[in-house]
Symmetry: C2
Subunit: 465 residues, 2 copies
């Protein structure tokens, strides 16, 4: 009798699971169908990219983007939409960026394509002219020492590694030169740093990005040079080691500005206190229109809420779309959001970030214990029909990173990474580089994962790391 | 003792397999590293696309492409390179393609974007003007019958299904209107057919492609209309069912031309009589430069041979890159190649085709028994690190299809399918739409699979289908 009961219970259990699976599968198909046939993310992105454009923190465009996003969220019939104030830096590129290499021995003077790195101080008004020393690593900097560096412009010419299948790994190995190059070089008396643009493409577009002074009393100008000009200068230096570089920039820091994270919420029907955040960052660099970085993540996150509303899905848990301000040069929005969550005692069970471009989704990376990663891997069959095949342990995202301390499972959307750095932080990051189907497949993937977490929660975490 | 021997043999067997796996894995990494750091496919494609351009069968550009491909193959140090003669059709678009919709009741006359379908007869020199009947299916054609169709232009306005994750499935459900629409409509007395372009994008570019007259004595002009104009005309017809369409085209068929498949071969060291063919088609439509369709497949196939030579891999079996002529409007090259293989008693154990665009590779589809499919699925772990996750039963490719009768395992490369039909057969299929890393990842995937087949063969095929 007991045995029969056990069998019966097992069958019932199996039945419930199979029913779940089938219901989940149908829901997910519904999200994909809707996103692909009447998705709004692409048309929103058109507005954000082409009507507002680049929106660096503190800029009038960033303020416009906040208001625009609030209005879009307001149109979705959510339970609440609000702005979360946050003070952000206001760095501006200024009106002039000029650079040239000068070789009295060979070609005379040739203009090169550069742009100031975000946060850089300007040169003196008349510009700066000095000999160049080309380096491949911080080790070489140390080896050369002050005698080799003082009075020179340091040129970090380290290409990204094309052999890495994920371009993000290649970026990760090089971005330190951009972020910390100036602060390291000034220790040896460098006058400025020029950093090879973080892209695998050889072209004329310099790629900006944040840089950081570790000692606020020691600042030298920092610029990115296009990959083609980096290779040109490297060749020129072999012919003429006395080659000089001329750099003129009038970028500068203005007083901090009050800005906002834009937040929209659907309140959970069963567990309203368990929050699932889905987001991207609303600010972008100023050179392009920030369509891939990270307009895509913003419109996808809003699309998640729209898909839920439109398909009459009432989530068990509270779902928030969070458009973070100031990811690029300060992370102030992400920090503020986590601080407020802590202050209010909010429980974020998961946060999903899309900040790797609006390309075909290929997976999710999960920042949590291996137990939780394996739990999510059970969902793989639900995603495979949509080409989403990777569910791995990995990075969540910058904006959501500060929620980690509160025990939140952090998740990053992994789109196809091949094209991202062709555009990233350059004037090439524009709306025309986005394919609507790829963008909408990403949004539907995000909606599907948020749905699954909302329905089934995340199990107690073992082997917490 | 016997038992111990068995255990020993098992361990030895396991050891050999593990060694194989490790050797294969290293080889494959070598192909990917080489393709990503010094791949030639992209620069070859630049030449083919930008120096030669669109190369419809029989055109001077197609002849140039043959000579160009022969020269590239000659430069690779192969064991042999040859041209395989084949007679091909020579259809030309002519100098004029004009169309307009005319509504005396409402807007007067508006130009629309059309292009002749490949193989279409021209209109009369003065053009053709007639009322339009819009249909969604061949069923509707039958229902309307001769009384509804005679003397009219049939407008097949069936959009591709955006819900299909593979755009190729969506294409497959619609392409019949393009291929057979004219022959079906003429049976009911239609004067011409206008077919909605086969793309999910709403834009102004008409997409051509082959059409076919089932009865050579019954021919009416056939054109593609851009998706935006298809939707415009559909709306206009609702306001004015008497709307007329004006169409003028002077496309026509010229005498057949002698052309060539271009073939390069590395002779197998152990089993030279077992041939593995890898190919794409050298001809393209005339509107764009045929970069994705199928310049990509051609340069990837040549890159397979280059990677083998460059990495000093001496294949056990004979490897052929075959650039087929006339896939688009006749398949003469594919037919000829299979005929010659049969005539010469050649044994093709496998043929791999790349004809779905030069996008990020995501898998392979195998046209063979489920036993063989499962055999190939064992290779999945070797491909997963490169984002190639699908090994499914499915279609091989048009050019290689005629080898099927000889028992050849047919294999198709499956790139990411989202963007392909944005460009396919239109003026938008140009080199700038190709990303070098995506193209080279595809080439390395092909090289890896060809390598595995060359090393390990394909096991005896059970449950042959």
């Amino acid at each position: 009798m007991k045995f029969k009961l056990l069998i019966l219970l097992l069958f019932l259990g199996w039945g419930v699971r199979a029913q779940n699976y089938s219901a989940d599968s149908l829901r997910i198909k519904g999200f994909f169908d809707m996103a692909l046939t009447e998705g709004m993310a692409y048309s929103w992105l058109d507005d954000l990219s082409n009507k507002i454009g680049g929106r660096l923190s503190g800029s009038p465009e960033a303020a416009m983007a906040v208001e625009w996003a609030r209005q879009v969220m307001d149109s979705l019939g959510l339970d609440s939409v609000w702005l979360q104030p946050v003070m952000v830096p206001h760095w501006v590129r200024g009106s002039e960026e000029k650079a040239a290499m000068i070789s009295d021995a060979t070609f005379g003077r040739e203009e090169v394509n550069v742009c100031a790195l975000g946060g850089s101080v300007p040169t003196a008004p008349g510009g700066l002219r000095a000999p160049v020393v080309e380096l491949r690593s911080f080790d070489e900097l140390e080896q050369l020492g002050e005698s080799g560096i003082r009075g020179k412009i340091v040129f970090f010419n380290t290409p990204m590694d094309a052999k890495k299948i994920s371009t993000f790994h290649a970026y990760g190995s090089c971005v330190g030169y951009r972020v910390n190059g100036a602060s390291k070089a000034i220790e040896y008396g460098a006058l400025a740093v020029i950093v090879r643009s973080m892209t695998l493409k050889i072209d004329d577009d310099p790629h900006t990005g944040v840089m950081h002074y570790s000692d606020p009393t020691k600042k030298i100008p920092a610029a990115a040079i296009s990959t083609r000009d980096a290779e040109r200068m490297s060749r020129a230096l072999k012919h003429d080691p006395n080659l000089e570089f001329y750099l003129k920039m009038d970028c500068h820091e203005l007083p901090e500005v009050r800005s906002f994270n834009v937040i929209g919420e659907i309140r959970g029907a069963e567990f309203p206190d368990e929050i699932i955040a889905v987001g991207g960052h609303l600010d972008s660099w100023d050179l392009g229109d920030g369509a891939h970085d990270d307009g895509a993540g913003c419109v996808q996150s809003m699309e998640v809420l729209r898909l839920f509303r439109k398909s009459n899905y009432h989530p068990k848990r509270t779902i928030r779309a969070v458009l973070f301000m100031n990811e690029e040069n300060g992370l102030r929005g992400g920090i503020k959001y986590a601080e407020e969550a802590k202050r209010l005692g909010e429980k974020h069970i998961a946060a999903l970030e899309s900040d790797a471009g609006g390309f075909s989704p290929r997976g999710f990376s999960i920042n949590d214990s291996s137990y939780v990663v394996r739990y999510f891997q059970n969902y793989r069959p639900l995603f495979l029909p949509y080409g989403v095949y990777m569910i791995n342990a990995g990075y969540g995202g910058a904006d959501i990173s500060r929620l980690k301390a509160g025990g939140t499972t952090l998740i990053g959307l992994l789109p196809d990474p091949q094209r991202y750095f062709d555009y990233h932080h350059s004037r090439e990051d524009t709306f025309d580089k986005v394919n609507p189907r790829e963008l909408h497949l990403g949004a539907a993937s995000m909606a599907s994962l948020v749905y699954l977490i909302s329905e089934h929660g995340i199990p107690k975490k073992m082997d917490k790391n």
